[in-house]
């Protein structure tokens, strides 16, 4: 069954959707959308370094994404606004990454494959990495779920309950780096943030509790992955962007339905 490239692609897409759903909810709730973007952009630099050092691309992307996320976390609250720091770091990392790639003369790499993903080329070992990473992220977030929610609601409240919001933030930062690294092959650097944010945002109107929102976001992400791949197959369109297009259409559709039912009342 895994010998069929479409099956592998769908499994990869669904795996990323599952990791992205709960994480994406926190990204939306904490207004960290741009943070996901910055981490993903940094991953290009990681890929270039990984190719130069001949280590696994997954490891390179993850390490640089993690360094990026930690740097941002460290720098915020030290003089610059969050979005300024992210703007500086994200685009510098992307630029340095692109320049670094050009120095790799001996190796021909298809940059487009990393910018937009190449989900149809996912191998069996890629699947293991994606599902391993996704399981790790979901397990991390489930383990810290209540503490993360409390820290997201209010820092003081979390402290008074004996929690350490800064440590919980670190859990999100690490999860984000892992998700970016496993998702690069599937949707690429430029569209990772979309997989985090769009399903979570689309799920908002349907959910009454945080848990429900994460669950529905997972379902919307999985449906987008499967439908997007099928659409790409039928219409001969690029796979990664097609997945994001389906998610965006679901977002618009659900919002329209929500808006109409609100006005009907």
């Amino acid at each position: 069954m895994l010998d069929d490239f479409m099956t592998r692609a769908m499994l990869a897409g669904v795996g990323v959707a599952f990791a992205a759903a709960p994480l994406g909810c926190f990204v939306v709730w904490r207004r960290m959308a741009y943070f996901g973007d910055a981490t993903a952009h940094a991953a290009i630099l990681g890929i270039a370094l990984a190719l130069a050092l001949e280590v696994s691309i997954f490891a390179g992307a993850m390490v640089v994404a993690l360094i990026m996320a930690l740097t941002v976390t460290f720098l915020t609250g030290r003089g610059y606004a969050m979005d300024t720091i992210l703007g500086v770091l994200a685009h510098s990392a992307l630029a340095f990454g692109l320049v670094a790639v050009s120095f790799l003369s001996g190796i021909r790499i298809d940059l487009m494959a990393y910018l937009f993903g190449d989900i149809l080329a996912v191998s069996k070992s890629d699947l293991i990495v994606i599902w391993g990473g996704a399981t790790l992220v979901v397990a991390l977030i489930l383990w810290r779920w209540s503490a993360l929610l409390m820290s997201t609601l209010n820092e003081e409240l979390a402290y008074a309950s004996g929690l350490h919001p800064k440590r919980e933030q670190l859990v999100l930062t690490i999860s984000l780096a892992i998700t970016v690294a496993v998702a690069i092959k599937v949707v690429g650097v430029l569209l990772i943030a979309a997989m985090l944010i769009i399903p979570a945002a689309a799920a908002r109107g349907l959910a009454r509790t945080p848990e429900a929102m994460a669950g529905i976001a997972g379902a919307i992400g999985a449906v987008s992955a499967v439908a997007g791949l099928q659409g790409a197959y039928v219409l001969d369109t690029p796979a990664g962007p097609s997945i994001v297009c389906v998610a965006a259409i679901l977002f618009a559709g659900l919002n329209l339905v929500g808006w109409r039912s609100k006005n009907a009342m």
Binding site: V28, L153, E155, L157, Y159, A160, R204, R208, P210, E211
Partner: protein, 243 residues
Amino acid sequence: MNLIDVKNLHVAYGANTVLRHVDLHLEQGEIVTIVGPNGSGKTSLLRAIIGATKPVSGDIHLKPGLKIGYVPQRLHIDPTLPITVERFMRLTGGVSKAACRTALETAGVPDLLKRQMTKLSGGQFQRVMLARALINQPDVLLLDEATQGLDQPGSAAFYQQIAQVRQETGCAVLMISHELHVVMSASDRVVCLNGHVCCEGAPAIVASAPEYRALFGTGTGGALALYRHDHDHDHTHSHEAAE
């Protein structure tokens, strides 16, 4: 033994010292109110007590096993975060639905369990926060301007509820308030803070202290003094930026 003992506390953000030489204690069952102008370090003091701000120096001693119920200053929940009152109250583990109901009743807002937090009115929201703080039978309630955004009858009712909770459960209360008229009637002790402790004691004593009058005017603690105090006091801070 005191529930909370703060000795010679210094708190600074970078080069900016907000609290110096602050001593404070809270005994079993008493209601202590911290008053002071904006930027006087009231919130920093509470943050230091709950461990959210690391002091530069000084001692903060909490009675071992002390249970704190914290009611923050107007908490903002992002509208993208769906959460019912029940889910919110049960975030800290080991809380039963029945305990939620009881706490909501004690706080004066029964029947809110299934409502969305973001859809509550200001008064309902603060009472849910109070209910959440009460749910684990705390030894101390910490309130950081918990009535901000409530109208006068609303906040008077809120403080009445606090006094009643203290009577029923015997918990101590440490609160920050801007509302001097309420402070004067509801507190056992008032601490007047402006970077340091200007004066403290029973409400009547504090109200007649010269340091207090320098901060809040010579009125009887009425509503007007509340708005005058920022401008007739020249310690070390400047007001240019605010004007």
